[in-house]
Symmetry: C2
Subunit: 572 residues, 2 copies
């Protein structure tokens, strides 16, 4: 008997919507298909209500109980995984913070003094998943990271079972070498020669970008490590108006100061304008400041725009500046023969941020900072703490990576990506990227045809980002202007709120520059099909239309003074 095989009648039971069911108070017998069966063939779940943590390993004879407990847990988790991919499941079952805080039907977040039994823990596990968000659902379009790669998930389960640290070779021999292999491969794909390239996996793209600024500063002013910024002239960084805010944040953290980040203008497609960069550099020099670093973005967060890397690299070369390419989001396109042309020039970067947890679908977190100049990471970060990094060990201690990082101890973020690479091959990642971009094109084509939607920019998407407004009937014939903008600004938040309450899809929105709130749809989940894209548009249109006729929305009055929507009522 296959323990993971749920009877069809039970697995296909759709998740109950909105309301909270008493069911969540006990594991349903359907989660326990490997339990003893009664004569009428119903399952009796194994009862863990008298079993406690103390009965599990390392307790003597704890093996069986531990295995039984994991069996139940795995049933719950795999049931969740299967549900995540089913379109009949909800993406989320939304509750406000105060509702969850107060405890829902016995799901209490409070921490006890005394142990609770394992039955309660299993119920808590089910509730934790129930009230969360299925980021792997084919209709979750909310973040750059989405999808649930099952091989990546298998990799994470192994990683946590191994429970070690990317600190020294002696405690992580296999993972340290996998990191080396992965980084080398990524450097090769970026286009660096065999003599070039170093790097490290980091806790997220912001940290990777922070590394790049840190390394650039050290490269030009190595004395900063010991003497600090007071020994240095006023340093200036450049990044585009559409770039990620982490460049500014890095400047603040590193003691450079966010005001010393010059924000370079973009064209209407969200790409940095090289001439603007050059004139900003010259202006900064004229003011007696010292430009040292330019961040170019390959795949901006909102528009998915690619900065013109070669033109920017030319400018960096002529002024002797460090070129960083933030390809956190766009790096995945390097895997696609069809799309990698959009990152032409990336090989000229001095450092690259690339997050496989975004476009390549690796589970969170998986982000690399790649550095062209070998040895710089170590020189910049090492503190030679011999009480932590002994040099008289019997193996090649250059594999002890702890001292070349900021973090010292690091989570193992490499195994899942390594295993996924084995499972898909480089070509599999390429196909996955192509598919996501095809979904974006499909959405773009649909939007062009519909009168109830408006594109934020008319050109074909370069990445998988598609930005658009839903235009309610009442606004369709209104002339452009501040009043229309004021009203349009309120549409996306209201639709998103309704969508989250219904729970059948999820998408993000934001304002940007002079553009009022618009939806940004992104595709990074290979589970998403064109039918899901179509569903999303219908859902938005239907929610927007319904609101118009419901109490939440009144027809626009002549005076233009009444808000488009009434303010939220308590339950909204």
């Amino acid at each position: 008997m296959d323990y993971l095989q749920l009877p069809e009648s039970i697995t296909e039971k759709s998740t109950p919507g909105g309301q909270i069911l008493a069911e969540s108070k006990q594991r349903s017998s359907s989660d326990n298909i490997n339990s003893p069966q009664t004569s009428d063939n119903t399952c009796i779940p194994k009862d863990f209500s008298c079993i406690y943590n103390k009965d599990l390993l390392p307790a003597l004879s704890g093996e069986d109980t531990t295995k039984d407990f994991f069996q139940e847990l795995v049933n719950i988790l795999l049931s969740y995984v299967c549900k995540s991919f089913r379109r009949s499941s909800k993406v989320l079952d939304f509750h406000h913070p105060h509702q969850l805080r107060e405890g829902l039907e016995g799901f209490s977040l409070e921490l006890p003094d005394q142990p609770e039994n394992l039955e309660q823990l299993l119920v808590d596990c089910r509730d934790t998943l129930k009230y969360g968000v299925k980021t792997g659902h084919p209709r979750f379009f909310n973040q750059l990271s989405s999808g649930l790669d099952v091989i990546g998930l298998a990799g994470e389960w192994l990683t946590s079972t191994a429970n070690t640290n990317m600190f020294t070779y002696e405690v992580s021999p296999v993972f340290i070498l996998m990191e080396e292999v992965l980084l080398r491969k990524m450097q090769e794909i970026v286009g660096w020669s065999e003599e070039e390239g170093d790097g490290v996996f980091c806790p997220g793209g912001t940290m990777s970008n922070l590394y790049s600024v840190l390394l650039a500063r050290y490269h030009f002013f190595p004395e900063v490590k010991t003497k600090g910024m007071t020994a240095l002239p006023r340093l200036i960084l450049f990044t585009s108006a559409h770039s990620h805010y982490s460049v500014k944040k890095s400047a603040a953290v590193l003691g450079i100061g966010s005001e010393n980040v010059v924000v370079v203008k973009c064209n209407d497609r969200g790409k940095m304008i090289p001439a603007e960069l050059e004139s900003s550099i010259i202006t900064a020099k004229d003011q007696g400041c010292v430009p040292f670093y330019v961040n170019a973005t390959a795949g901006t967060t909102v528009y998915g725009a690619f900065d013109p890397l070669n033109a920017i690299a030319d400018i960096c070369e002529s002024h002797g500046l460090w070129l960083h390419v933030d390809a956190a989001w766009g790096g995945g396109l390097l895997m696609s023969k069809r799309h990698r042309v959009k990152l032409q020039g990336i090989e000229r970067a001095w450092s690259v941020t690339w997050n496989p947890h975004k476009m390549m679908g690796a589970p969170l977190q998986c982000s690399a900072i790649l550095v062209k100049k070998r040895g710089l990471l170590k020189d910049c970060n090492q503190m030679c703490a011999e009480y932590l990094f002994q040099t008289d060990k019997h193996y090649d201690t250059s594999y002890d990576t702890g001292d070349k990082t900021i973090q010292c101890g690091r989570h193992v973020d490499v195994f899942k990506l390594w295993l996924m690479w084995k499972a898909k091959g480089s070509e599999g990642f390429g196909s996955q990227v192509n598919k996501c971009l095809e979904n974006a094109e499909h959405l773009f084509d649909k939007l062009k045809q519909r009168p109830d939607f408006e594109l934020v920019f008319k050109s074909k998407p370069e990445h998988s980002n598609v930005c658009f407004w839903y235009i309610p009937p009442s606004l369709r014939n209104m002339p452009p202007g501040p009043e229309r903008n004021r009203r349009l600004h309120e549409v996306a938040p209201k639709i998103k709120a309704k969508m989250m309450e219904q729970g059948m899809a999820m998408i993000g929105y934001q304002p940007l520059g002079d553009k009022v709130n618009f939806f940004r749809c992104v595709f990074s989940n290979p589970a998403t099909q064109t039918e899901d894209v179509d569903y999303l548009l219908e859902e938005i249109a239907s929610l927007g239309h319904d609101m118009q006729n419901a109490s939440g929305l009144r027809p626009i009055c002549e005076s233009g003074l009444r808000p488009l929507y009434e303010s939220d009522c308590g339950s909204d």
Copy 2:
């Protein structure tokens, strides 16, 4: 039939030592106890050699194959978990980097262009665990983080299945609230009032310490965020000679400069001397510098020493300095009624680092920075990027934590700790800590009695660290002095190398100040029993003694010029 139940004859088969077996090329049938059985009762493993990633979810009708694949994986993982706790298992099966890099018996780290089949992936998973280190083994004493908490592991499996980000409430409602509950509880345990306290979970203790310096600087000089360090006077930090190197690293990263960290002298027990701190502060002021931050350590890395927090807090108060307590290692003792007295005064700290992944046994990583002043984290780090953090959402957006962190997106490190807390209760953590410290006392008592070992300091351990030398027979009657030191310095590395090759236990060593290489044993694994402590001492003594009589070690010659050990041979 219980799918996780391995037949006793197979589960108890001890791991073959040293040599690499062809067995690792295929999953052994013992991993597949749920597979069909032949008439002679041997199991036939399900064959995945024609099944690929493309056959798994989200493939249509991929549910069954996905479940089958996870079944095999879980068998491998739980077999590893059980082995980790068995004393008959090896802690590690050591290979040098070049050996693993070259590929062992088909375990190739290289990344393919084409997909590999799932059978190969399962073999790779088994090999990854085989060549790794069992950090949960009762005889792994190498790191401050050890043990394999099975409830924590369950929490990690769920976390990776949920695959979300501590970024906004909308994508992590449950985890965001669990973080709040955990932080509040930890602040309460530290001793802060209900009006005080903020914090965030970070990727490791070094990052937590970096946060503390960042916040202190911002607290006194908020203009640093925009203007950078050049707007500030020369800032000085203070930390003890035995503190973690992350304080210096933070100063380097943040642009303060590592030379501006004043290293305060410790007594021979490794505790900061308050009078030395005070005079260092006065000296710095006299030199026109601006002291602003003191790091006190509660549980140093090597000695496990606790700085006198109240005396240091008095000095900080009188000089108006930020007091940070690095309780990454010692924080766990707050859970024990018996031992929490060692952290008396911690409630006076302005910020506290506390790593539940160390003494509380949470899986890696789990580290908190606690901050007394509410709102400071947000003020210091927020960049108000409205394209990421919309303020017009329909829920209370103060729960969107992304903007108060450095990292923006963050891994979910809270669920495992939350689940462990439910499983053990606060009292369970207390008992666990007590047990680890009892093991340390047991080791201390044993060492006092033995002529072949020497304690680094004679007083009873305060934490679970016990530091000692093994004294080979040839050194026992040698007078103290440089020559004895030179020889003694080589003993621990040689013994550790042999120990790693044999693989039955693992312990760290390091020099510190004027002390030559000594062993540091630490206890944070509740699976460790006194018999394991006894085993460790016998193992060290036996390896030390054997080496003396083997080719690796020659008797000391009169001239004192010949090294104690021959240099490593190729295979060593």
